[in-house]
């Protein structure tokens, strides 16, 4: 498939040259450099070069037909950074689209990125979206799911065999000003593990349905959320398993209140049942479908300041509970503001996390604390052709005995970025990131980037 990605590109460019009325290319090149020292090993040097490319061509023969492509390629100029090899690439999407002048009707064919209700997928196939009479909306997609390399080469074949086809969609009904209801569905693969031979213990297929709702009776209240159901024909689990066999994968609801133009509030509730929620996982060692119990969280946040205000503040609190672990409570606040004449924006935040101790089963079973405090601040500044950004984050941990911390009680990361807009279509910048590795060893990362736009169309939208 990888070779196909590269073959598609020149074909696409040829068609653009022949038919393109308005063509826009956006390119980002990132060159990273860092050295990493691991105690007991030689210091390694890494320098990957990553190229992102986005192509949008409209008016291909007809005004309503367009072509869109986005992908990247990466090559390690020094030591290897990824388990998949020194060179890798991906086509995120690449499709031909038809947009009708009425009803938001759109059809796409090619590699598409689907975001329709319960389905968030990369698919080689087609999709169709439209607003219908009577306030109904409809979207559907079908094709072959994009396959990724998974954890175990020995079951890669099963993974690709099981995920042979994907289809789904969403039907919605809008009630003007008041509400919207939706029903969505996805079937990912037609060969569940249960249908394969008895030696197969993995099930990479998924069949889920979701009901979503939005209620906005006035400008002061907005309630939205969804419930996802696992409706797959599952494999039987061993009799001694304690897995939660609930068919509800997820409840996820949010109630937003605008108390006055300067004050808003948001309440959230989430509940997830592991086996149903982890349906189709490719990493069961990390996302264990047999984990007993559920995960639940409740959150509240207050928002101070209108979107146009010079100052905006957030005060938030979130409580989580995982049956197999315990409770955590995260609370704190963030303030952000701007000084318009100077094109300066800034933000500061402080959060505290109180959490139950975690069980560490080593040679001697013991417990360690996860509680910590997070402090962060950032500034961005623009003047003429120059841009600058600075971001600092500091974490202080209550229990340095946490084995993840390697005896350290805190960690900090500082990011500085300096950019220069050389021409309206070319920006070059340099980032310096001073942080720590996964072994809590200090390291410095340098990033050179060049963002380049060219073509025969104005780049729209926002970044």
């Amino acid at each position: 498939m990888k070779s196909c990605n590269f073959l598609l590109l020149p074909v696409a460019f040829l068609s653009l040259h022949a038919w393109g009325q308005e063509v826009s290319f956006n390119s980002s090149t990132l060159l990273q450099y860092w050295r990493q020292g691991t105690p007991g090993f030689e210091t390694s040097t890494y320098s990957p070069a990553t190229q992102f490319l986005e192509v949008d061509a409209t008016g291909l023969g007809q005004e309503a037909i367009s072509f869109h492509f986005y992908g990247w390629g990466r090559s390690d100029l020094a030591e290897q950074t990824r388990v998949t090899g020194k060179n890798t690439s991906d086509m995120v999407y690449g499709y031909v689209s038809y947009r009708a002048p009425k009803g938001n009707l759109e059809a796409q064919v090619g590699r598409i990125a689907v975001n329709q209700g319960v389905a968030i997928e990369q698919v080689d196939g087609g999709t169709f979206l439209a607003d219908l009479i009577g306030g109904f909306t409809f979207s559907a997609f079908a094709g072959v799911p994009v396959h990724y390399r998974i954890f175990d080469e020995s079951v890669q074949h099963d993974y690709e065999y099981q995920r042979d086809l994907i289809a789904g969609g969403r039907l919605g009904k809008r009630f003007d000003r008041f509400a919207e209801l939706g029903l969505s569905f996805v079937q990912d693969g037609t060969y569940p593990g249960k249908k394969l031979n008895g030696y197969n213990t993995y099930d990479f297929t998924r069949r889920q349905m979701a009901v979503d709702i939005r209620v906005t009776p006035n400008t002061l209240l907005n309630m939205s959320g969804r419930t996802v159901f696992d409706i797959a024909d599952r494999m039987d689990l061993p009799a001694d398993t304690q897995a939660n066999n609930a068919r509800v994968a997820e409840h996820d609801y949010n109630l937003a209140l605008r108390l006055n133009p300067q004050l808003g509030a948001s309440l959230t509730y989430t509940e997830r049942n592991f086996r149903a929620f982890y349906s189709g996982t490719t990493l069961p060692s990390l996302f264990n479908p047999q984990e007993p119990g559920t995960f639940r969280s409740q959150g509240v946040a207050f928002f101070i300041g209108a979107p146009t205000s010079r100052f905006q503040g957030v005060v938030d609190l979130k409580k989580t509970h995982r049956d197999s672990y315990g409770d955590s409570l995260r609370y704190g606040g963030e303030l952000r503001g701007s000084v318009a004449p100077a094109n300066l924006k800034y933000g500061v935040g402080l959060h505290r996390v109180n959490a139950d101790a975690a069980n560490y089963s080593g040679i001697v079973a013991t417990f360690y604390g996860l509680a910590h405090t997070e402090l962060q601040g950032w500034v961005t500044y623009e003047k003429d052709r120059m841009t600058a950004a600075f971001n600092a984050i500091h974490h202080h941990f209550d229990d340095p005995a946490n084995p993840s911390l390697y005896g350290k009680g805190s960690l900090s990361e500082i990011v500085g970025a300096l950019g220069y807009q050389a021409t309206p279509d070319l920006k070059v910048s340099c980032d310096v990131i001073r942080g720590v590795s996964s072994l809590m060893q200090a390291e410095t990362l340098f990033v050179m980037r060049a963002d380049y736009h060219f073509g025969w169309a104005r780049k729209e939208g926002v970044k």
Binding site: N26, Y93, N104, A167, D212, A256, T268, A358, W378, I393
Partner: protein, 155 residues
């Protein structure tokens, strides 16, 4: 498999054809947005009078990118990606949401700290703490895809 795929695409075509017959007469949303928008969080009601967005059942103010909207954008995006596409190219979403990532969102957007992208600040260490408390928040991006970095340690 080819037969199944053919049937699925045929079904999609039939459903599409049926939907065409029931198409709303409302004008489609402009794509891209007719006027150039600046950097940062857009406020729709700066230009659009408060009222229903044409072709939508929602008020313009519902799309104002307040801090609350930025935190809870997943539900409106799942329901109505056509509205997002009015201003955002799909690559904007792919900066964070993608099946096969190559650099973390925090690195890709290192020069945009205002976007509060995930995995800032020593996240290789922090993920062991967040993952204990709530592994389901990792699952959305790394559970079925985008986990080629995870497998280096989690096998």
């Amino acid at each position: 498999m080819i037969r199944l795929l053919r049937n699925a695409l045929l079904g999609l075509g039939l459903l599409g054809g049926l939907a065409c017959g029931l198409l709303s007469p409302e004008k489609s949303f402009p794509n891209p947005h007719p006027s150039t928008l600046g950097m940062g969080q857009p406020v729709c009601t700066d230009c659009h009078e408060e009222g229903l967005k044409e072709g939508s059942s929602m008020l313009y103010s519902s799309f104002n990118h307040s801090p609350a909207f930025a935190r809870d954008h997943k539900l409106p995006a799942n329901r109505d990606s056509a509205t997002c596409a009015t201003c955002h190219p799909q690559s904007f979403c792919a900066d964070c949401h993608t099946g096969k990532g190559v650099v973390s969102p925090a690195l890709k957007l290192a020069d945009r700290p205002d976007r509060i992208s995930p995995h800032r600040g020593g996240y290789m260490t922090l993920h062991r703490i967040d993952g204990k408390m709530d592994p389901t928040s990792c699952y959305k991006c790394h559970g079925r895809s985008n986990n080629q970095t995870c497998i280096a340690c989690h096998r």
